[in-house]
């Protein structure tokens, strides 16, 4: 190996193969059976438990934990998956510290909640890894539904529709199903190909076909889908990315963080993936953290996350930010990018400090520069390919509480729709609930 974290410029193989493999291994290995029982025993089986209320999919958490404690993880998995069919990925990517575990009475009592996320993962993985699908389909209805997007919302919707006996075709723009689970989440959160294993397992219900490489607005039109199917569900997420809008944004080395993460997730040998010695990530959300941390894990020497507001305004959770800090990511807040400098390729990025003024955020006038071989933009994604006939607000498809859009026969959910929190778990909930409403509509 000739390269190291100190090698200048953008290059692959900064770390040896074994180190990279260890870096991108599972962040949290599975509980074994004994660990799971000990962790499960900490659950108080609360009355009308706050954790259930805090879960966007309203999983009966005390029940599934008691089922683990009673030595029946398969039953626990059934409890979880009947509410959230992507329970396995959600167990890995949910910000549990702000959801179920944040609501756990033991968090209030001792700052040490029941490890609900890891317990959920333990239970669901039992079924997934042996590809045992516990749900069965109702009798065929003859109804056909098109689902656009094979991400959490689309998969959640499709599975519930298939259970009801409908036939579902899922169209997805990418080469593989899974959406952000496959392309948009840090590798160490979805190690061992779990996103595809989960999709394969989910397909075990039957009645679902996935067609890849088809994007709405390019290869598909809503009108033709409406004509061809009995109902349409839109769950294609946010395919576009906000522009940086500063001088030098076109220079080599400046990329969208989502593209970097997607490339990383689709690279089998991560020692072939180039990364800069100096990396700057712009943004304050989960995507920014995932890009920054993974840059470090690939061997970037200096990685800095820069966010234009204060830490308290960042979308990334404290847990994620602490993880980033542990991995050696430097965090700078209250600074906005001004220009990227460099001769063809990025060499430095210039920031100006910000403060909140009477008319919102304003520049203080003070600037600084950071070395940057790579600049990853993680400043938000945008809706792309949505038909103009749909009512759109603030860049999202308007839906009601059960997922209906402004167009009859068209439902939507997930990141492309209003009402969610850009979380996997809310996307699954919206897909599931829309499926129930589609089923009700088609049953009339």
């Amino acid at each position: 190996m000739t390269n190291s974290p100190q090698t200048d410029g953008i290059t692959a193989a900064r770390l040896d193969r074994a180190t990279v493999a260890a870096n991108f291994d599972d962040l949290y290995p599975d509980f074994d059976a004994h660990e799971a029982r000990v962790a499960a025993d900490r659950c108080y089986f609360c009355y009308d438990a706050p954790c259930i209320t805090a879960c966007p999919t309203a999983i009966d958490i005390p029940l599934f934990i008691r089922q683990i404690q009673a030595g029946m993880p398969d039953a626990a998995a059934h409890t979880i998956l009947s509410q959230n069919i992507l329970g396995s990925m959600c167990a890995r990517v949910c910000p549990t510290e702000t959801l179920c575990e944040g609501a756990c009475v033991r968090e209030a009592a001792e700052g040490n909640p029941v490890e609900i996320g890891r317990l959920q993962r333990y239970a669901t993985d039992q079924l997934l890894l042996v590809n045992d699908h516990p749900f069965t389909r109702a009798a065929e209805t003859g109804k056909r539904i098109a689902v656009v997007g094979a991400g959490p919302a689309g998969l959640g919707c499709a599975h519930r529709l298939a259970m009801k006996g409908h036939n579902v075709t899922i169209y997805d723009a990418h080469a593989k199903p899974g959406g952000l689970n496959e392309y948009g989440i840090a590798a160490y959160k979805a190690a061992n190909n779990i996103a595809q294993i989960e999709v394969d397992w989910l397909m075990g219900i039957g009645g679902i076909e996935i067609v890849t490489g088809k994007a709405l607005g390019k290869d598909l039109s809503l009108d033709s889908l409406k004509g061809e199917y009995d109902a349409v569900f839109l769950g294609m997420g946010l395919a576009g990315v906000n522009a940086l809008g500063i001088d030098g944004a076109e220079k080599d080395g400046v990329r969208d963080a989502v593209d970097f993460i997607a490339d990383l997730r689709q690279t089998d040998d991560l020692t072939t993936l180039p990364i800069g010695r100096h990396v700057v990530v712009i943004g304050g959300g989960m995507t920014a953290v995932d890009a920054a941390v993974q840059s470090r894990l690939l061997g970037a020497e200096h990685v800095t996350m820069v966010y234009r507001r204060g830490r308290e305004a960042m979308a990334a959770s404290d847990y994620e930010l602490d993880h980033a800090a542990t991995e050696g990511v430097k965090l700078i807040t209250d600074a906005a990018p001004v220009a990227v400098h460099g001769n063809g390729a990025a060499r430095e990025i210039e920031f100006g400090y910000t403060r909140s003024g009477p008319n919102g955020l304003e520049m203080t006038g003070e600037t600084f520069r950071l070395r940057a071989d790579n600049v990853f933009k993680a400043i938000g994604q945008t809706l792309e390919g949505a038909p103009e006939t749909l009512s759109i607000e603030r860049g999202k498809i308007v839906i009601d509480a059960v997922g209906k859009t402004s167009l009859a026969g068209v439902w939507a959910g997930g990141d492309c729709a209003t009402g969610g929190e850009d979380l996997t778990v809310t996307a699954v909930a919206q897909g599931r609930d829309a499926a129930e409403d589609i089923h009700a509509a088609l049953s009339q």
Binding site: H34, R37, V38, D41, Y44, F45, C46, Y47, D48, A49, P50, V105, R106, A108, A109
Partner: protein, 434 residues
């Protein structure tokens, strides 16, 4: 520092902690290790008659019940009395006693119910210099099928008869070990006393099946597809043992009979409780089998420190201290009124008190939409279930209503006088007496 030396029915030991007759006391090697660790005495594992020793199963002898994190709560065994030759046991007992004069060494015995068998074995034991004998009338498995162990302990007449033989043919202090597998523990205790026993020890193990294997559909531990009931011991049996010890201690007939308390003693606190209920020494087995002999350091240090804190100087100061407070239900003061009080600063809003009270008790806890739980005094009968299920220590307490206050549940003024069932107007026996 508190004096832990013990004089139990004339048997002296540096502390009240003896290892019970069981696998830990089966041979010199273990017993010496125990004495080195600091145990005050041992009851040597039960000897049988001369001749070929008993044989044990060659499959599992123990089964267990676990709490969280595989904490052993109850142990079940089907091991018999010693399966080593009598002569070897006797030689070792003699040697150990000679080398450990300050420790109590009692020999447990179980031979057939004929006088000559007892004459024979007692002569052997006398020769070892042991401090006393313990008659094993307790083991409920295996030997009981042969007319020994609990088969004797379940018939007071046999207990009396054998005890009488032992006292007739030996000058050694005689402790009779009782089985809990009976209906009234006072009957066998009184029988032992009539026979001349110097003391009783209890409880021996409880008939039990620990679990059923749901693949083979056989009881566990399973020997070649079958299982037999065994003897249950460990922390799970302590409440049963405490009650039986107390029953003997507070019975006028047996109040002066020394008791060696056995059953789930795991920490110094368990031992202190047995002593307070009338035991003059305690015997330990499961805790040693679970954690090894070094627990004696915790037992001695804990008991000693607690006694210092309480100003109790000797073991005698502790023994029977709680006995006067053990009474019959009919004598409990019905005018003592308490109500549950939930400390809102400590409450973590789990709602377990609510579920327990609402589903299974007296609907005396209210739950607000924001999960604040409060006691409805007008419904609370002070059953204590909320206290028992609350995961937070001292969060829910039972607070006494002062005399003169009106109990909102009954509408009656709380009396400052003692009033129990024997005087209560609802008691038909009171009316009959008038």
């Amino acid at each position: 520092m508190a004096d832990l030396t013990t004089n139990f029915a004339g048997i002296k030991s540096p502390n009240p902690f003896w290892l019970a007759s069981a696998p830990p006391t089966d041979k010199e090697y273990n017993v010496v290790r125990a004495f080195k660790a600091g145990w005050g005495g041992v009851v040597w594992k039960t000897l049988g008659s001369e001749g070929p020793p008993v044989v044990n199963v060659n499959g599992p002898r123990y089964g267990a019940i676990y709490g969280a994190d595989r904490r052993l709560l109850g142990l079940n065994n089907i091991e018999l009395i010693t399966d080593r030759p009598l002569e070897i046991n006797l030689q070792e007992i003699k040697k150990v006693k000679r080398e450990w004069k300050d420790r109590a060494l009692i020999v447990s015995l179980m031979v057939p119910c004929d006088e000559q068998s007892w004459i024979d074995i007692l002569a052997h034991v006398e020769d070892t210099g042991a401090d006393g004998v313990e008659l094993n009338f307790g083991c409920p498995h295996g030997m009981a099928e042969r007319g020994m162990g609990s088969a004797v302990g379940q018939v007071p007449e046999y207990i009396e008869m054998v005890t009488r033989w032992v006292k007739k043919h030996s000058r050694m202090p005689c402790i009779v070990k009782l089985t809990p597998n009976i209906t009234d523990i006072r009957q066998p205790a009184e029988a032992a006393m009539r026979g001349g026993a110097d003391a009783v020890s209890l409880i021996n193990t409880i008939n039990s099946i620990t679990s059923v294997n749901l693949d083979s559909f056989a009881p566990e531990p399973t020997i070649d597809g079958k299982g037999a009931h065994g003897g249950y011991c460990g922390p799970a049996v302590k409440p049963i043992a405490l009650n039986m010890v107390a029953e003997i201690a507070r019975s006028a007939e047996t109040a002066h009979l020394p008791i060696s308390g056995i059953g789930g003693v795991t920490t110094w606190r368990d031992a202190a409780e047995f002593l307070a209920l009338g035991a003059g020494s305690v015997q330990v087995c499961t805790a040693a089998m679970t954690y090894g002999f070094d627990i004696i350091k915790e037992l001695n240090a804990g008991l000693s420190l607690w006694m210092d804190q309480k100003g109790l100087n000797s073991i005698d100061d502790v023994v029977r201290r709680a006995v006067p407070n053990v009474t019959d239900w009919k004598d409990l003061n019905l005018n003592y009124v308490t109500k549950a009080v939930i400390n809102q600063d400590l409450c973590i809003s789990c709602g377990r008190c609510y579920a327990a009270c609402e589903d299974t008790s007296h609907q005396a806890i209210a739950m607000s939409p924001d999960r604040v739980f409060t006691v409805k005094d007008e419904e609370c009968v002070a059953c204590n279930l909320c206290v028992n299920v609350c995961p937070v220590e001292d969060c829910i307490t039972m607070e006494q209503m002062q005399p003169g206050m009106v109990d909102p549940r009954t509408g009656e003024v709380v009396s400052d006088k003692h009033g129990d069932w024997t005087q209560h107007p609802n008691n038909p026996m009171v009316a009959a007496a008038e």
